[in-house]
Amino acid sequence: MIRCESVTYVYQRGTPVETTALADVSLEIRSGEIVGIIGATGSGKSTLVQHFNGLLRPTRGRVYLDDVDIHAREVDRRRLRQQIGLLFQYPEHQLFEETVSADVAFGPRNLGVAGQELDRRVRGALERVGLDPDRFGPRSPFALSNGEMRRVAIAGILAMEPRMLILDEPTAGLDPLSRQEILDHIRRLHDERGLTIVLVSHSMDAVARLCRRLIVMDRGRVVADGAARSVFADPARLAALGLGLPQVTLCAQRLRERGLPVRPDVLTVEEGRAAILEAVAVRARGAS
């Protein structure tokens, strides 16, 4: 549904400090996918996703939504931003209303939604991120914990009912429990509501748990794009890009080095557990 064709983006063009943040990036994100974008800090992840909803205009190249150039004159920018929900990094810094409900209502209200429909959307969005609308709705967003603020910000995007949800480092700086909760909600949005999800992250564990497909960026270029399993099968290459492995994958590979025949391409703790049990069973059979 989103397609980038040779997108190049240069910040501060024509000044002594100009930076090429994206260089000739081509990729496609299909409807219903859940894709992870990983890469070291400064590799251009945030710049890339801001092209998806038209906040940045490519210096060269084109971006299409459903085969329509999003910068074509007849494209309605608000409709574009309604369809492609983008959550920025540290989204709790964008909250401004007096109550949580009012803040979540900001997006849909800008789209002209009002009355009961608005109410329904706000309540629905809060519920989907696990916040009770009656308890949290009337509270001030500034009196919440960091994890709660971030969930309010996600609700603010969900209330616009987008087809695609892009989350830029949604778990950065959170405690492990909040991180887990947010990832669970994201997974549910994909599994139960069929939202297309793009997850930008430098937590390998998060993308391994959620994403089938990974896009790896390095200094403004896409250097790998494919199944998560195959990307994590090459740890040396990832290390060269300043990236690591999910902890469970690392664990499996270390066990293998020590001689236990564990499958090296596990991505989740459950898979890891199954693989280790199997390897132990195989060895037990061999010994007997």
Binding site: Q12, T15, L86, H93, F106, N110, L111, M160
Partner: protein, 273 residues
């Protein structure tokens, strides 16, 4: 959507050049002298002399001319309005060159308007050149040293310098934050550049509230960090970077003085009819 692009005025350009290497005090004094000189000069020829000098300094500082022109953009409208007022509503009398109804444009007012405009351009170029070639930290160090003799008279040199350092340090941060929050709210369907004036003013609320909240949060964190490092003001503080006036600095100041002197008192021959 890129806010910082138009913000060239007062941005340090980190390149290597003889001008960059000068002591910050030299550059501050030179800029002050040039500003004062520009106000004292009363002839086009004088301004032309300074223009040549500034052009040479820009070249020596390895600053792209286009970048200097860009630095003029923020004051462009101010400049245009000032010149227009002078031309249209300056003193009566003189030689009219254009007349429509009550509007009379005289040759004298045209010349005066051009002169004032020229002068403002030179003022801005002189100060931006200093800003382009001196890092904010050097600038405040230089200021503090220059103000130090006035401490006896009650001038809080260190505190002023600290305030300036903090302000300069946080202006880019605030701009970045502004850009980010604007984009985040635009992603939620906000529009900042459309609609009536009232609507646009109201559209600023979702921008300003988070901006202020963020500024207070930062101020808090900064105060805490300073206390944690036992900061207690300027008394007995030593410095890591010692400023030092070298020969190049005295030469530079002498060149500036000569340029201003020439600009102020052009030889009588220049006035020959």
């Amino acid at each position: 959507m890129e806010l910082l692009r138009s913000f060239a005025f007062g941005q340090y350009v980190p390149v290597e050049s003889p001008v960059h290497r000068l002591d910050p005090r030299t550059k501050i004094l030179a800029a002050l002298a040039l500003v004062a000189g520009t106000f004292a000069i009363g002839t086009f020829a004088g301004l032309a002399v300074l223009t040549v000098f500034l052009a040479a300094a820009i070249a020596a500082g390895r600053i792209a001319p286009g970048y200097v022109v860009r630095g003029l953009r923020p004051v462009f409208w101010l400049l245009a309005i000032a010149v227009a007022l002078q031309v249209l509503f300056g003193e009566g009398g003189g030689h009219p060159v254009f007349r429509r109804g009550p509007l009379v444009v005289t040759r004298e007012n045209l010349l005066l308007g051009a002169f004032y405009g020229y002068r403002v351009v030179l003022l801005v170029v002189a100060t931006t050149l200093m800003m382009f070639t001196t890092s904010p930290v050097e600038l405040t160090d230089g200021m503090e040293r220059l103000l130090r003799p006035f401490r006896r008279a009650g001038v809080p040199a260190h505190e002023l310098a600290l305030m300036m350092t903090i302000a300069l340090r946080f202006i880019p941060t605030l701009l970045e934050e502004t850009e980010k929050i604007m984009k985040a709210q635009m992603a939620r369907g906000a529009e900042f550049s459309q609609g009536s004036l009232v609507r646009r003013a109201r559209a600023l609320v979702p921008l300003l509230v988070p901006l202020f909240v963020g500024a207070f949060r930062r101020a808090d964190a900064l105060a805490l960090a300073m206390e944690a490092r036992c900061y207690r003001g300027g008394e007995h503080r030593t410095r890591m970077r010692q400023l030092e006036m070298r020969r190049a600095d005295y030469v530079a100041l002498a060149v500036v003085a000569v340029a201003i002197a020439v600009a102020l008192g052009p030889p009588a021959a220049w006035h020959a009819p």
